[in-house]
């Protein structure tokens, strides 16, 4: 045997080192001392988390912002339900993907239903989009906004854009004068509306053919495609383009707050579904179905209903958005004129009245295939 003592020690240490890479089980127990939030930008800022941390000095509160709903959902699907306590996504993803897959769990109705009374009339209880089909309350709404398309009002007037609606993008004169913001799930909804289809009802073969024609024309005549709203706003302000397909207060507000008030989110004045042609997004913040849940999660959901925190969530870094709690005069008083103009408060109510709620798209699977194919061609 030529195995020396030194070799033996080296190898044993090597094996121990390797074992260290695979820690057996988790040593963390008792989640009262931590809470993790997976959210769109806003809930992760110091303005929101700072006061909450102060109120819970012993707890480690962590938040991470995602850049798309499906990215965040993929994290939970990949096993991160053990990590997160709250998730903040647009409501169709909560109702259509997260709840059916058992990734989020119902909220305590007695505790949270009273908050709906302080919200804008659109969200009055029982606000259907916060509930699953089985009647459970699955999330709390806060930020929302009309989301259709955006124009440079120096080039295309608001009236013209609203009157023409989605057909604006089919006008041959618009060839090479607009961009497509590639929020794919939104583009699909908007292309359905452009093709006079109801995206929230099943779409048959003839409808899919109409959708295909619209998708090909919109991609074919677009000057640029990007999923970056800053790049898109820059192109709009610099005159590379005069409008962009898919956008709204969420994407226009940063440019408007910077003084470019000629950038404006447009809601078509008419459309194919009950006379409506616009769409509105609404975020829901839901409790993740964590096997070892943190009791702080529901505390945080209550905490973000306070007026100061509402304002901080609405005016976060990056984008600015209306919030459901603005019906409360205490909340409303915290916004100044410029801020209200950035989120197009002057037309918010009428835009909401002309907008459909963003819902699950039943033919999404077929449409995304057609969509990605049209995008490649």
């Amino acid at each position: 045997m030529t195995l020396t003592r030194r070799q033996f020690t080296q190898r044993t240490l090597g094996a121990l080192g390797a074992a260290g890479l695979f820690p057996a089980g988790s040593a963390i127990a008792g989640r009262t001392d931590q809470m993790n939030i997976l959210c769109w930008e806003g809930y992760n800022t110091d303005e929101v988390l700072g006061p909450f941390r102060k109120a819970h000095p012993g707890a480690a509160v962590r938040a991470e912002s995602g850049t798309s709903d499906p990215d965040m959902i993929n994290k939970l699907r990949a096993g991160e339900v053990n990590v997160w306590d709250l998730i903040n996504v647009n409501q169709p993803w909560a109702r259509g993907q997260l709840y059916p897959a058992g990734l989020i769990k119902p909220l305590n109705k007695e505790r949270f239903e009273p908050y709906f009374e302080k919200m804008l009339p659109e969200f009055a209880a029982p606000y259907p989009l916060a509930y699953a089909d089985d009647g459970n309350l699955i999330g709390m709404p806060q930020r929302y906004g009309p989301f259709s398309f955006v124009v440079n009002t120096d080039k295309i007037s608001r009236e013209t854009a609203e009157d023409q609606g989605w057909k604006l993008f089919l006008d041959p004169a618009m060839k090479g004068r607009y961009g497509v913001l590639t929020y794919d799930n939104w583009n699909i909804i908007h292309m359905c509306l452009t093709a006079d289809l109801n995206p929230f009802a099943p779409i048959d073969g003839a409808g899919q053919a109409a959708f295909k024609a619209v998708a090909e024309q919109i991609f074919g005549n677009a000057k640029l495609l990007t999923d970056d709203l800053v790049a898109m706003n820059t192109a709009l302000i610099n005159g590379e383009i005069d409008a962009y397909f898919t956008g709204g207060t969420y994407t226009a507000s940063p440019a408007r707050y910077d003084g470019a008030t000629n950038v404006r989110g447009i809601t078509p004045s008419s459309g194919p579904v009950d006379g409506k042609g616009g769409v509105v997004w609404i975020e829901l913040t839901s409790a993740v179905n964590n096997p070892d849940p943190s009791p702080l999660a529901e505390d945080f959901l209550e905490f973000v209903q306070q007026p100061d925190i509402c304002k901080a969530v609405a005016f976060t870094e990056g984008t600015y958005n209306p919030i459901a709690q603005m019906a409360n005069p205490e909340v409303r008083a915290r916004f100044d004129t410029e801020e209200l103009d950035a989120i197009q408060m002057d037309s918010l109510e009428e835009e909401m009245a002309r907008s459909l709620d963003y819902q699950i798209v039943p033919s999404y699977d077929a449409l995304i295939d057609i969509y990605t194919q049209a995008r490649r061609s």
Binding site: T2, P70, D184, K223, L225, A231, T234, R376
Partner: protein
């Protein structure tokens, strides 16, 4: 006892081999596993049906693949042509100035790729740094230079420049000056020296640089997104869409697997053609 002695090398390497196997191969195996699952499932506990590959064939995904590979190849060739003289200078001519050049090129890597590309976007767009100045100074404006295929290739060339330059300089530094001088003494022209001395002897560096840039460029998405306005859709973009908005992990996995296999085959072929030990400085002869 003798037999254990023979296996000691293998046994010593075993723990690390296992760690590498688990951390490097497992993700690839998971991708391979998902690629044969039925559409839109989120676990590997289904019977394989290979439907993703049928979808890829039917729905024209080959276009994105060809664009990615084609633009990567173009960028690699352009980079080789640009970098060769510079790398030659760094290895043989510049002396201590090479260090300044190295630091200058490496510094750019400290800034995120997206930010650098966005800088180019602001420079080249209509009303941007370039066109804006032209219009202000000479009164002639023109359309922005963005949103087309050449600008995407420009972005690839710009971003992957260091990945070609440094291996190339390393490769050229391996060419012995004696061999060049001997060739010249024997009456070889400059072109002949390049063809018969420089290129073959620097081949490991050329291969490493080309593979690095090609592999990275084939999987790149930011250049097409930020500069190209997605004038063409690259394969990395299709993978991302399948995993995210498509919520179709098997399709995304199958697209990734195809890209991995193509690039893997090219890399293995390329590496088999050159003596990599030489550039690693381990040539034990």
């Amino acid at each position: 006892m003798k037999s254990i002695d023979h296996k000691l090398g293998f046994l010593n390497a075993l723990p690390l081999t296992l760690v590498l196997g688990v951390s490097f191969l497992m993700p690839l195996l998971v991708i391979a596993g998902f690629s044969v699952m039925p559409q839109k499932v989120f676990s590997l506990l289904h019977l394989p049906d290979f439907s993703s590959f049928a979808v890829i064939l039917k729905q024209g995904y080959y276009k994105s693949l060809l664009w990615s590979l084609g633009m990567a190849a173009a960028a690699t060739v352009i980079l080789f042509v640009i970098c060769w003289p510079l790398a030659y200078g760094m290895a043989k001519v510049f002396g201590r100035f090479s260090l300044v050049l190295t630091i200058a090129v490496v510094m750019t890597l400290f800034v995120s790729e997206n930010i650098r590309l966005f800088g180019w976007s602001l420079t080249l767009m209509k009303g941007g740094l370039f066109e804006g100045h032209m219009r202000a100074w000479f009164g002639v404006g023109f359309d922005g230079l963005l949103y087309n295929v050449p600008i995407i290739i420009f972005g690839l060339v710009y971003v992957y420049f260091p990945f070609m330059l440094f291996p190339l300089a390393q490769g050229i530094s391996m060419v012995p000056d004696d061999a060049r001088q001997a060739a010249t003494d024997l009456g070889a022209t400059r072109l002949q020296v390049l063809r018969h001395i420089d290129l073959p002897l620097a081949a490991p560096g050329i291969m490493v640089g080309s593979l690095l840039t090609f592999v990275l460029a084939a999987g790149a998405a930011a250049e097409s997104k930020i500069l190209g306005g997605q004038a063409v859709i690259v394969i990395a973009d299709d993978v991302e869409t399948a995993f995210t908005f498509g919520q179709n992990w098997p399709l995304g996995a199958a697209l990734s697997l195809i890209l991995i296999l193509i690039i893997g085959a090219i890399a293995v072929y390329g590496i088999s053609k050159v003596d990599l030990d030489a550039i690693m400085g381990r040539k034990g002869r």
